[in-house]
Amino acid sequence: MNIRTTRIAAALAAAMLALPIAACGASDTGAEGPVTIRFNWWGSDTRAKLQQEVIDKFEAKYPDIKVETETSNYDDYITKLSTAAASGTLPDVMTMVDPFVYDYMDTGSLLDLSTASEQLDLSAFPEDSFSDVLGEQGEKYAVSLGSAGHGLAINPAVFEKYGVAIPDDETWSWEDFEKAAKEISEKSDGDAVGLNLEPTEQIANCWVRQQGQWFGMGPGGEPAVNFDAATLAGYLQFEKKLIDEGATNSPDQMQELSSAGASPEQSLLAQDKAGISLISMNQLSQFEEAAGHELQPVLWPGETQAPARGGWVKQSQYLAISANTAHPEAAATFVDYLVNDEEAGTIMGLDRGVPVNPNVLKAVQADTSGADQRFAEWVERSNAVNTQPFYRLNTGAAAALSSGAYSRAHEALIFGQSSPEQAAEAFKGELESAATN
């Protein structure tokens, strides 16, 4: 019995001693010799291959810098990053997006990129591409990896099949929108719907912006939430009408699709069962692949009739450097390569959005075709008419929105548990109380 216990103890001791030697984590701090930086990003395996190619080219160009990568899917990425932040082991370079980037900005976890101007040249980037990631004194905490945005896409095959005219997307009104959607549902006899009911706040966002209001903060940060519940109620009323008229799929079907993660293959749009749908525009090529034919990105309805223009383009993700990095120069050099190098840009293509650096954009566009080109064109058209800036949300409100504030209010509405006014009030209330916490 003593022998056994001794054996166990010995095994434990051996394990505890041996394994730390194999463990490694922090980047090494060799003064001479290659420097190793850690780069974390999210994405799928397809993006991984492209990214690795870029990294290989970078390491060939800068043999003194080694890049270690860690990748995960979007949801896991946020979890891992925050636990790393809690233990003080953030990577050197990381991809970021709102809303969680605000947390990192607020707590000083990100490096002000203007302090790395020797290695990182931001001059080619338009000022408003930084609007989401500006600090209070104008510090730039991250640089855009590409712009994209949510927008409506039309399935021409569906319109054609049921003999419905495709509206002119530069002049159509919300009534035209409603009419087209209704027509498709009626003429297809239930096989297809006009509008794919949207579980997120994007369409509502456009409607509210058209009234000169927005979900984000007012100028200078006040008020924390800059819209009237009545304005939002107007949209919800409109949407409810569409549902009741049968112009959309049913609420429970919408719920099912959204819980499935809104992948292109499962979408009604790609299955030719919906005429109009909101999509994340940088996924256009995936939707077209799933559909087997072209889809048509369009501008928002009601733009010319409303007091202001509601459409917007924003940055789809950013690249940031940890404020506590042991190798700011190496990290900045790497970031500079990723966002300014034309070859790197062409390899990644439009995978993360339309490059904001005009030189990179030109190089990439020479190579694009098909869906990617249509995506880039949509961004261009949207930018051309995008007269209202995109105001960032208050940190707390952004978190609340991201954690389902709109979805819950919306679900209560469409499942008959609250009226449009109540739902709008509930949503606004949740954002406001989160903003003050």
């Binding site: 003593n2 609420p251 079907q253 719920q255 099912e256 819980s259 993660g261 991201s402 954690s403």
Partner: protein, 315 residues
Amino acid sequence: MAITIADRRARAPREPRRPATVQARREARAAHLFMLPWFLGVIIISLGPIVASAVLSFMKYRLVGSATWVGLDNYARMFSDERLAQSLKVTFVYVLFGVPLTLALALLLAVVLNRGVAGLSIYRSVYYLPSLFGGSVAVGVLWRQVFGADGIVNTFLGWFGIESTKSWVGSPDSALWTLIILHVWTFGSSMIIFLAGLRQIPAELYEAASLDGASAWQQFTRVTFPILTPIVFFNLVMGVINSFQNFAQAFVVSGGSGGPTDSTLVYALYLYQQAFGPTRDMGYASALGWLLVFIVGGLTAVNFALSRRWVHYDN
């Protein structure tokens, strides 16, 4: 507590060979050695984080940035937290129906299979298959294929002339039930445990009982069930505890939201959202964790107290 009953029974037939103090010392030494790994585990692995989480429950901590003391605010907040109330409601329904259904099914099939059936090991494997899925991404997808608007259930109903395009996973009135069914679908692990327990019952007892003219039902109630009670108890306690902590299934089926309209927001999912969701407040999540300990601890204590009435140890 159950230990006391066993203690009392064990103390009776103590042999008088060695003097009590030597015996006690030897026993204590053995106890130290056998409990050593567990004690090390407590000290090194579990105690620190448990204390830390208790302390965190009095703080506001968003992982990024530092923690600030807020005293009892987190606990006070629980009383006005509507989503918490909703999640408690959902979870109680989930446990109330999920656990007994699962246990009954597991016990029934374990008994049937234990009787000896051709192809026993195949059945056993097949029934256990669903438990192998865990909280994988595939499960959510599969469940929508079954209970979705275009799913198997609706197709099945169509065969009987019932036209249905309702999405069972997407409707507030049925989503939780699809989750309960998912829970029951994974009854395999409880069944395995029952099977292992059934194997410990001596065949002689069945022989004797049948020779005494007992029917199958009587054999079950007089022989099988009494001896099986420690295992039933284990499955019951663990079933309750696990259902309260079960979050993966709700997560993949609802896409992480607990929807529609929070109808599938089981407690563990709500806690996860508070801990790692965008509003990320580890302090509040810790407080929720400790609330769960009290609730589940209370239920377990009730289980233990009631167990005196129906659980038999030591044959």
